[in-house]
């Protein structure tokens, strides 16, 4: 194989890894929604909050474990499969923005702003917790 075709094959592998991961992540989000809404009878707002907080924790944990100082040795495609794929597909910015907008649209301006701020805050906090845990494991 020439250098060029080898590089092209590597790019295809990355796309396939992200696509398959995102398909799995999206299905897991769909299942989470089913469990939270149909199973526990909670609002769909909880689904969006749940997936975004959990996905942000996992991406930071995994990215730090497989990073330059990390303990886990994973190739580029494997890394993209989990981070850009599963975590990217599991979390959703569009549904979060829509949920927030709909609260504002229905006249709950304060709740809409609070919901968005809270989900973003807890997602970032979860990501930081994932980072701290990974740094401990890496040591």
């Amino acid at each position: 194989m020439t250098n060029n075709s080898r590089r092209r094959a590597e790019v295809w592998r990355l796309y396939l890894a992200v696509g398959c991961g995102a398909a799995i992540g999206s299905l897991l989000r769909f299942l989470s929604g089913f469990i939270i809404v149909t199973g526990f009878g909670q609002s769909a707002l909880w689904t969006t909050a749940f997936v975004n907080v959990v996905g942000s924790f996992v991406i930071m944990l995994f990215a730090t474990l497989t990073g330059p100082d990390g303990r886990l040795l994973v190739g580029p495609a494997g890394r993209q499969f989990v981070t850009g794929g599963i975590c990217g597909g599991f979390t959703t910015f569009s549904a979060m923005s829509l949920d927030s907008f709909m609260l504002v649209f229905e006249g709950n301006m304060f709740r809409g702003a609070l919901y968005l701020a809270a989900v973003v805050f807890f997602a970032l906090t979860a990501a930081f917790a994932g980072y701290v845990l990974a740094v401990r494991i890496n040591r």
Binding site: A22, L27, S97, A127
Partner: protein, 133 residues
């Protein structure tokens, strides 16, 4: 939750993820990797489209208000396309690297612009359908 719904979500999620990877890579190469413009553009554009879809579902109904359309486009395509995890990863990495202002800008600008983008799409449909009548 049927088998068909799961297939729609899987296929939508696949193509949404691939589109995100393509566009964020393209924007990153074009505008540099120091600030995560790729994820930024993906999330704002996805928010705009979900606003369009929500507008179509509410003001036009029909197929757009149906469960299959929602499972494929909203849960699959747009859910797979937009991402909070990369947004958190990149914001946190900037903050850990001492780029506090850039991190804060990314967090505030992404959040605010995405909600505005939803509203923009939603009201655009309302306006267009209103003008058509």
């Amino acid at each position: 939750m049927s088998f068909e719904a799961c297939v729609l979500v899987l296929v939508g999620g696949f193509f949404g993820g691939v589109a995100r990877f393509f566009l964020s890579g393209f924007v990153g190469r074009r505008f540099g990797e120091t600030f995560p413009w790729g994820t930024f553009v993906v999330n704002v554009s996805g928010a705009f489209v979900i606003g369009l879809v929500a507008g179509l579902a509410r003001f036009l109904g029909g197929v757009f208000a149906g469960e299959m359309f929602r499972d494929f486009v909203v849960v699959g395509l747009l859910g797979g396309y937009t991402t909070v995890s990369s947004f958190c990863l990149q914001s946190l990495n900037m903050a850990l690297d001492g780029e506090h202002r850039q991190a804060l800008f990314n967090i505030v600008a992404s959040s605010v612009l995405c909600v505005i983008a939803v509203g923009f799409g939603f009201w655009m449909i309302q306006w267009m359908l209103g003008a058509a009548q």
